[in-house]
Symmetry: C2
Subunit: 206 residues, 2 copies
């Protein structure tokens, strides 16, 4: 653990960018690449209970900015993702696991057992919501790491009107808009990474 | 975006490990390194509303395993982190931002404005809980990427008794155990990465 993997350097240097080059755009194929990487994040039971809405036209960005506290970066970054968690649907799990069963990795009975376990785990609305938030955040973080590895800057935003976003972008009733993630080319004038708390305040050994 | 950054390869190859080398241990300094990296993840307002409990003694692992559906990897991995989100405390924000104000990056009035905004944003228990889950998941995902870059395997677990974990590890009342993350050396016999849904099912353009 003495050499430094380039991925560690990225983690250490990542910033939350506020200023983006408004002339920079991303091709849809580049956006697809980002989401394909984000979707490599883990989810409980391999539920993949998420949805990424890539807002990249000026008109759609304007609609999003209006329900996101008028934050300029929503419009200035090449793309602003609405990262949604989806309330866990154990019924859907059979389909999500089927390719893994068919590939011979997972016995069919085990997939059925997972479905039963998921039914128990998400029996309450709070548990289902927690999983939606958790899954979306895991995907969003992987999206930000991927963006940085592709030479792009990003910023996570939680200051938005969730009902407004759901209305403007016609989210399904089981979709929870968990965070916005802007991705684009950084413009000059961004802050450095903000200082972190001393380790002793956040880490405990047991 | 044609060359492949090593961090992208890690994202593409990460697996959720179920089997760990039970003879492998991590020094506390290595655990500290992991958490220092995890805490580079972003949080809203730079709240850093998280806490990592590194469970690494056999006795503590046994206590955790008993409230985590008896999953063997909790005990077999070198360390199992209890990743907690903390219910947002806008009062604490002044201290979190102070080093950034003192370094001359952020005007003091802006830090006060953020505190006021956070007070509004987390006025309801659900909003505070969502932020706790979101922050912990962002930190947990960064922890897993960091572990992989250090040559270690990981697995996220959400199947545990949250009340039991809180009781066994004396979590503060504002601490929400969001997920467990095992980290250690992979043993033979792990599954490959599970198949992902087709992109068209999870990505939408606007």
């Amino acid at each position: 653990m003495t050499t430094t993997h380039p991925a560690l350097t990225l983690i250490e240097q990542r910033i939350s960018a506020n200023r983006f080059d408004a002339t920079h755009t991303l091709a849809d194929a580049e956006i697809e690449r980002l989401v394909r990487l984000a979707a490599r994040a883990p989810t409980a039971y391999n539920l993949q209970n998420w949805r990424f809405i890539a807002v990249r036209t000026p008109a759609a960005k304007a609609r999003l900015r209006a329900v996101a506290q008028d934050q300029a970066k929503v419009a200035e970054a090449a793309v602003c993702f609405i990262v949604c968690g989806v309330l866990a649907d154990p019924q859907a799990l059979a389909g999500r696991l089927q390719p893994f069963v068919e590939a011979g990795h997972m016995p069919a009975e085990m997939a059925q057992g997972w479905q039963q376990a998921a039914r128990l785990q998400y029996a309450t609305p709070q548990a289902a919501r927690d999983e939606a938030v958790r899954s979306a955040a895991l995907g969003a973080m992987t999206l930000m790491h991927a963006a940085q590895a592709l030479g792009l800057a990003s910023c996570a935003l939680t200051g938005f009107d969730a009902d407004g976003v759901a209305r403007e972008f016609q989210l399904a009733r089981d979709g929870v808009p968990v965070m916005l993630v802007t991705v684009g080319r950084a413009a000059p004038g961004n802050w450095p990474q903000k200082p972190r708390r001393p380790l002793a305040q956040v880490l405990e050994f047991a």
